[in-house]
Symmetry: C2
Subunit: 211 residues, 2 copies
């Protein structure tokens, strides 16, 4: 298909598509003349994925590019590509543990990971963005005085482990490795608002039930 049809079917203006092409978010089309290129179903799927990551997932253009680059790097094996795409993004420094709230949060999170049998980032000064964000969020709860020891976090960790099984079952239904990786990225990011919306609706239901 030509650029105009890709724009029509992908729901993005031709200016947006050209921007994604320049930024490396979309692979180039097959050139058929000095000014025209031909695009396929792969381009359409990638275009929809990029738009959904940015518009629904709230991912920045730079971050979307890194996630997609990791997923496409064929020098990595399938597991590493999937891990790179779902983990995504550069590691970050540990927070400053001179702060007592941070030290408390760190102990809660370490206890949680041990109880769950998870072993991320051990023996390094760098953390995955998710691990760092977890410590930061627990630190905020500690500062507000809410209970968030290992015991309070554990039900959330167990539910997250159940969710990951559901999520990866959906990923494995995809037919090819590339589509599995695209699905992993899409489902990781796009199911986040699904999950948060459902949790808020569940709060309203559960509080109505109790009170």
């Amino acid at each position: 298909m030509r650029l105009a049809e890709l724009s029509e079917r992908g729901g993005a203006s031709t200016a947006t598509i050209k921007y994604y092409l320049r930024e490396g978010l979309l692979q180039p089309g097959r050139r058929i003349s000095a000014t025209q290129a031909e695009y396929g179903e792969d381009h359409l799927r990638r275009l929809r994925l990029v738009r959904a990551l940015i518009q629904i997932g709230g991912v920045s253009v730079a971050d979307a590019r890194e996630v997609i680059a990791a997923a496409e790097d064929e020098s990595l094996d399938h597991h590493l590509r999937l891990g790179a795409a779902t983990r995504s993004l550069p590691c970050v420094e540990r927070p400053d543990e001179d702060d007592p709230a941070v030290a408390t949060a760190r102990r809660s999170v370490d206890g949680l990971l041990e109880a769950l049998g998870w072993a991320p980032d051990s023996g390094t000064d760098l953390l995955s963005p998710a691990h760092r964000r977890l410590i930061d969020s627990v630190t905020a709860l500690v500062r507000l005085g809410y209970p968030c020891g290992t015991e309070q976090l554990l039900p959330y960790g167990r539910l997250a482990a159940q969710l990951a099984v559901t999520d990866l079952d959906l990923v494995e239904e995809q037919p090819t490795a590339t589509e599995q990786i695209e699905a992993a990225v899409a489902l990781t990011v796009l199911y986040e608002p699904v999950l948060l919306s459902l949790r808020r609706m569940a709060h309203a239901e559960e509080s109505a039930r109790r009170l």
Copy 2:
């Protein structure tokens, strides 16, 4: 305590505190002279909550004000105040169902709510923000061609219901009604990054386990 001590203990500059006072995010102190006011532990807790909502929860100042106003409105009974605070924020219009992807998403979500026995927003043209966000997110998944019928959404809905029980158990541990409402707001918003971080870490663990 005076403004300087509130600033020190709350980790916010005096300029920030004055801004929150002007915007109605923080209740006024007890005036002790023309230029000085006295603040208590209530102010400190509220200040920490507002900062956490805005900095960790990513809530706008305007939205934080509405959430707090709903929680403080003593003309509402306890259930309604808790509901107003956790639900928060004005209702929004239904999305345009002439779009076939929206219509598909709407059917999936309606089927999900029926299967879960939830009955929000029925018989009105307005939806809660969470309900609208759910339909929008599912619409994005439909457009990308990922399976997200009622059957795929149901495990997420069941887990959200389990989370709500855990969440409201924590809320009910708070001693007073006002503290329960503050806790509901704090836990709703502040456990969102906790949950999303744990889900991403669980993905990394589960994909390592499978591959």
